[in-house]
């Protein structure tokens, strides 16, 4: 149970306060309601590049990090398809430094062209380090556009291509800022060793004077229901072949989200799951296999991914996965299986809330749904899922016409197999 109080400033900034006097720190989390789904198809990777620029100095403060480090604080941020989220931690007595820094960069950035030039290079190195110079690193760059035909989830948050980042201009940066980085498009959470009156007065002082701006209007194309199974294959210089299968599923705030998430767990979370037991342990077709859900706000993906054992073909492996998927699509889960994944999910929730920063991020994200109180309903919603719910979502999500399969062939494994045969 996370206790909190909420209020909204005149300029539209939503504020949540979570008091936790048992820690010595205060944390501040600001979520901006903008992610890579809000980008133009020819300017992808921008929301994330922008996150880097937010650390390059603001209207009145030349350096963001240094004053924070000076008071013993630390900060970081992440961008995903839906949101850009910034957070900082300071010894509780110095929380006002956080207000000063965060309100100034919400007011305006410095828009220093030099900062753009350097961060552009840094992000390109990040692109290479995590997506291009890693075995299997480009899987998401290939899978997303296959699964999504019209929705902007078809590109990864890092961007479609390095060239989009290389071509970003300072004018685009300014437009992006004034469009999305306004109080009415943000959610501020302050948590830890703070009090509600203290946060209220600091928020009024530092964020109150920021002009409200116009909340951006979002109108994204919705992905049509998939009518036919999709398939693609690639060959790459990787040591082992890999298998991927994605299914469209409801978004994070949909009533059926938890049922699908639990079904995904039963299918492929850890060594007790069906896919692992059948395909790694019993039939030895894969060396690893697991599932996860993307948990995005617009309809997301349930993804199965696995690495194939040497000597096994992707076709055999695919057929074996399909048999298990079809079985669940037809019959749902065993009662015992459902109870097991529910116990896992409830425990994961409890453990995630040990860290005060996680509580703050959860509060911000729940507020984004329009109802902060859902943050305390997750356990109950998981507990309520029953076998009928699972059967209903299983037949909808796991149908073959909703599936996208991608084979990631290994050039090396193929040539080794040829050598063995000759």
């Amino acid at each position: 149970m996370i206790r909190y109080e909420a209020f909204t400033l005149d300029n539209g900034l939503r504020v949540i306060v979570h008091e936790d006097p048992t820690v010595e720190i205060a944390v501040m989390n600001i979520l901006y309601d903008v992610g890579s789904r809000d980008e133009q198809p020819d300017k992808t990777g921008f929301a994330h590049l922008f996150e880097h620029l937010m650390f390059g100095g603001s209207a009145n403060i030349p350096s963001y990090d240094e004053p924070l480090q000076r008071v013993g604080g630390e900060s970081n941020a992440f961008t995903n398809t839906d949101v850009t989220n910034y957070y900082l931690t300071v010894p509780a007595a110095n929380i006002e430094t956080g207000f000063w820094l965060e309100s100034d960069r919400m007011l305006s950035l410095s828009f220093d062209p030099e900062v753009l030039e350097v961060q552009r290079k840094v992000v390109i190195e990040e692109f290479k380090q995590n997506y291009l110079n890693q075995p299997y690193g480009d899987v998401w760059l290939k899978l997303r556009p296959l699964v999504y035909e019209v929705h902007p989830y078809q590109w990864a948050t890092i961007g479609k291509d390095v060239s989009h980042i290389a071509n970003a201009t300072l004018d685009q940066v300014k437009d992006f800022f004034y469009r999305y980085y306004v109080p009415s498009n943000a959610i501020l959470v302050v948590a830890g060793k703070v009090t509600v009156p203290q946060v209220r007065s600091l928020t009024e002082k530092w964020f109150g004077p920021i002009p409200s701006g116009n909340p951006p209007h979002r109108s994204l194309p919705s992905e049509p229901v998939q009518q036919k199974a999709k398939f693609a294959e690639y060959t790459a210089d990787v040591p082992a072949a890999a298998f991927y299968q994605a299914f469209h599923m409801p978004g994070r705030f949909d009533d059926d989200f938890y049922a699908v998430d639990l079904m995904s767990d039963a299918l492929g979370r850890g060594p007790s799951s069906r896919l692992y037991q059948q395909l790694v342990r019993k039939n030895e077709l894969f060396t690893s296999i697991s599932t996860h859900t993307t948990g995005s706000i617009d309809p997301g993906m349930l993804v199965i991914s696995g690495r194939i054992k040497p000597g096994v073909t992707l076709e055999e492996a695919h057929e074996a996965v399909q048999a298990i998927v079809t079985d669940i699509a037809r019959k749902g889960l065993e009662e015992e299986e459902l109870e097991r994944v529910k116990a896992q999910a409830e425990s994961s929730l409890e453990f995630a809330e040990v860290e005060v920063l996680n509580r703050a991020i959860n509060l911000a994200f729940a507020t984004l749904s329009g109802d902060t109180s859902i943050v305390n309903q997750e356990a109950e919603r998981i507990a309520r899922v029953n076998a009928d719910d699972i059967r209903r979502v299983a037949s909808g999500v796991l149908r073959e016409s909703n599936s996208t399969v991608m084979y990631y062939r290994s050039r090396r494994a193929q040539s080794e197999a040829l050598k063995d045969a000759s």
Binding site: I25, R70, G270, R281, V354
Partner: protein, 419 residues
């Protein structure tokens, strides 16, 4: 009008509010630390055992013993064990590090008794099934092939080998032929000899009834009996090394040298110098190589502490053609740390950030347990961190300059690249 140019007033304190642990012992004398904190109904139990790579008879034994442990007991197969923990909302894991193996059990408080019972069964009655060993081997071999495709892995391996020698537990790698040679009997023997807890830490919402249950249950484990092995590092002569990796877009750099243990009087100086050089986002290496030149996504310098040795390591991934510039800049920064006093303001920021982040670490009971674990395992006094903060607070630029030459001479650093 609000003054947005002047930073708000701030304070700095030197507190290190570590939760006072309650100390007890298992039947054979192994110390147990109970660290009570947090609001959530969860517990973490951590057992530290001398079953790391240090004591293994051949490469891979420690890792495979750790991973195979929960794959079968006299009455349960691997599925029954995994689903047993899952049904309880518990999580059980065993990992083998360079010096120790660590068994971790996470449990919600209401299921502690059955989770602990299952953990005890896994620890005391493992059967190390042959077919599970074969599967683990094939997964390991495949993962090894994938790692060999990563320049970061190749560079780190080569660096450790250069520093400690290819036969030393800190320097050697587990090669495919080691894996093929592993027999079930090796694992059984290793388990018999080394799976004996030397330290137990319990953190979270620990109530009195949990304490007794934990003490009674874990007292059924065998106690320590043997002295640990001895190994001497045999550094390789070459100070520079390169691992060629065809087709890579980036080069991974690993630059470092052996250093001093936490108990050494110069350790606080080493820590602060490292922090200023490359230990945080505002460090010199980050500012120069990422924030000014944009050569990398990240460059960090860190102190790696093992039980019997310590090393300093600077690591980064850079564009292939920028390898030489990046290396040259790292050397320049090392030289600057040794030859110029750190300007007062830079030192103050580094110092405050170091102290603040150490204090902020303590935001969960599990984090408190980690600090206590370090102090106990490395035979440090229980006020180690409090004293470290005091010393960092009063260290001057001239104190640092006087010590920098001993630890940061660029000619004493090994330089490894892969790409």
């Amino acid at each position: 009008m609000l003054d947005r140019r002047t930073p708000p007033a701030f304070t700095s304190n030197l507190n290190f509010g570590l939760i006072q642990p309650k100390v007890a012992a298992l039947r054979h004398g192994t110390p147990v630390y109970f660290i009570k904190g947090g609001e959530q109904n969860v517990l973490k139990i951590e057992l530290v055992l001398p079953a790391g790579r240090w004591n293994e008879s051949m490469p891979g034994v420690a890792h495979f013993s750790a991973k195979l442990l929960s794959r079968g007991t006299r009455s349960k197969d691997s599925f029954a064990i995994a689903s047993g923990f899952d049904r309880l909302g518990a999580h059980f894991d065993v990992t083998a590090g360079p010096d120790f193996a660590t068994v971790t059990l996470y449990s919600i408080t209401r299921n502690l008794a059955p989770a602990l019972e299952l953990a005890l069964e896994v620890l005391t009655e493992p059967t190390f099934p042959e077919e599970e060993l074969a599967q683990l081997k094939s997964t390991f071999l495949q993962n090894l092939k994938i790692s060999m495709e990563k320049t970061s892995y190749l560079a780190s391996q080569h660096f450790r080998k250069t520093l400690f020698g290819e036969h030393h537990p800190y320097g050697r790698e587990t090669r495919p032929d080691n894996v093929h040679a592993l027999r079930r009997d090796d694992l059984v023997a290793f388990h018999d000899r080394w799976f004996r807890p030397m330290l137990v830490l319990v953190s979270g919402k620990v109530e009195d009834q949990h304490q007794q249950l934990i003490l009674d249950t874990l007292s059924q484990l065998p106690g320590m009996q043997e002295p640990e092995k001895d190994h001497e590092p045999q550094p390789v002569g070459n100070r520079r090394g390169h691992v060629e990796k065809e087709g890579s877009l980036q080069t991974s750099l690993r630059i470092g040298r052996r250093a001093i243990p936490r108990s050494h009087p110069d350790y606080p100086a080493l820590v602060l110098l490292n922090h200023v050089l490359g230990g945080h986002f505002g460090s010199r290496l980050m500012k120069n190589i990422r924030e000014e030149k944009g050569l990398t996504y990240g460059i960090h310098s860190s102190i790696h502490v093992m039980k019997r040795d310590t090393y300093l390591l600077i690591g980064a991934d850079v564009n292939r053609e920028n390898t030489d510039i990046a290396l040259e800049e790292v050397r320049k920064e090392l030289e600057r740390v040794c030859s110029e006093p750190i300007p007062a303001d830079e030192l103050e920021v580094g110092r405050r950030h170091f102290i603040g982040s150490l204090q902020s670490d303590l935001s969960t009971p599990f984090a408190h347990a980690d600090k206590i674990r370090t102090m106990v395992l490395y035979n440090l006094p229980m006020d180690h961190y409090a004293r470290l903060i005091q010393e960092i607070d009063r260290m001057s630029a001239s104190d640092l300059l006087a010590r920098a030459g001993t630890y940061f001479q660029k000619d004493t650093f090994i330089e490894v690249s892969a790409g």
